[in-house]
Assembly symmetry: C2
Amino acid sequence: MADFDTRRAPIVNIDRADHVRSDPEALADYSGMRARLLLLNGLDPQIDAEGGLVWGSLADAEPDAELVFLGIDGDRGCFAAVPKRPTGVGREGFMRTITALHDSQVPIYACARSLVDWHARHRFCAQCGSHTVPVKGGWQRGCLNDACGAQHFPRTDPVTIMTVENRTEKGERRLLLGRGLGWPEGRYSALAGFVEPGETIEEAVRREVLEEAGLPIAQVRYRASQAWPMPSQLMIGCAAVTFHERIVVDKTELEDARWFTEAQVRDVMSGRDGLFLPPPRYAIAHRLIRDWLDGN
Amino acid sequence: MADFDTRRAPIVNIDRADHVRSDPEALADYSGMRARLLLLNGLDPQIDAEGGLVWGSLADAEPDAELVFLGIDGDRGCFAAVPKRPTGVGREGFMRTITALHDSQVPIYACARSLVDWHARHRFCAQCGSHTVPVKGGWQRGCLNDACGAQHFPRTDPVTIMTVENRTEKGERRLLLGRGLGWPEGRYSALAGFVEPGETIEEAVRREVLEEAGLPIAQVRYRASQAWPMPSQLMIGCAAVTFHERIVVDKTELEDARWFTEAQVRDVMSGRDGLFLPPPRYAIAHRLIRDWLDGN
């Protein structure tokens, strides 16, 4: 007991304990003095020297803050507080944060950030304009207007992100990479785009590559996924193949897109060459490009 | 020209033509007399004898209806009108509709239904409570309060749905299927659940099976995806394997979950046995179960 308010050891894994969300008594039990609060300044966490997220107690939250139940760490409830006002997206700050965090901390931060940001931007009912309040430990918001009573749920927006392979006449593999508008100088990465209503993952990949680079896709394979809280995306990583080589860049979406040879990509990813700046290590694009180099 | 307002041939494929959405002039060009309007009664389509969606012209819309640009069919714009009021979910009616539609028509209806339903339930700004209006051909809604100016985008909610395989001591394959609360009598199908903020697809599958059936998962493989407009889900189909056999059903989520032998599943899917009612042919669960029977 002695260390409950001073111990600030990082939490490596949070059990989402979804049964607690809809059980007010259990939720109250987990909201006591031993509960931990993720310390956030707006959406930015405090990070210790080892890359761990820093936690406080619920007393560290503003008295009128809305709290979101993230889950449990052993017998302690884990919470995050919703910022008073919606916070700007802050891509650069986010990138610094993700870089500084230990790998084990990223999913915890991704979940908390997505949730509290969603709450901050959804204090009103989209159906009737009335005020809403968090319910089920912050995994829902309910409209206060009895005549409406709409329930709203946190968003997770599926986004496809894909390597695109083509072979030269000699059979040499090459990889399509592009540059988004306003990206850091020299950065090239995998193309990406939201899955739209009515689409499959594979259709979204085909549409995206055709729209942005003018290339018809012959084959799409799912490879891996990743949560990306900017603000709340599910990145769905795929490997695509095209038999076409003529790129037509949609300049409203991309600054550039081009083919890189396998040797070029290998040299850049191993740091031997600075031909372009690859996606950062923690981004799924990085993993997809490595996966492509490995021949998968 | 003679047939432009009488011809009601089904549309088999709509080009989403996303560049048109943000080009008011092009959008106006596609909104003329040749434009087609998906005929909807609330969210329910009209369906012809061949399972085709029935289209009219923009004159068939209420004069003050909000129109959503679905894309283009050749040189014709394709639109759907937003219902005046949010419409209930209507699962049974939706099931009848999906059953009656030709396969080629389902994605078109799925897109239209998801979009107009989203608009009907998002006429107010979740950030400030002010009125919103459709922009970019209905692929966005903008807040009318200049001090806020929030932009809102249609939702697509990723949902994992999974077969779960276990082998008996003799090495015989068996399949976990469950019954949701209030499902039609005898129906058993694949378990499913929303991907939550901060999760990967694979983590969501593991959490869902552990929560609902108490089974730790050893392996997850992505198989296929499908759009499911109830109201706007991206169903992400996976095949999972567990080495555990003891099912613990979460009775708040499921009425039942149990193992079926390969022979039992095969007999039910081929119609030779009525041991349980399998998922309907057009549902991804049906495809996942067939895929499992095929040994994939």
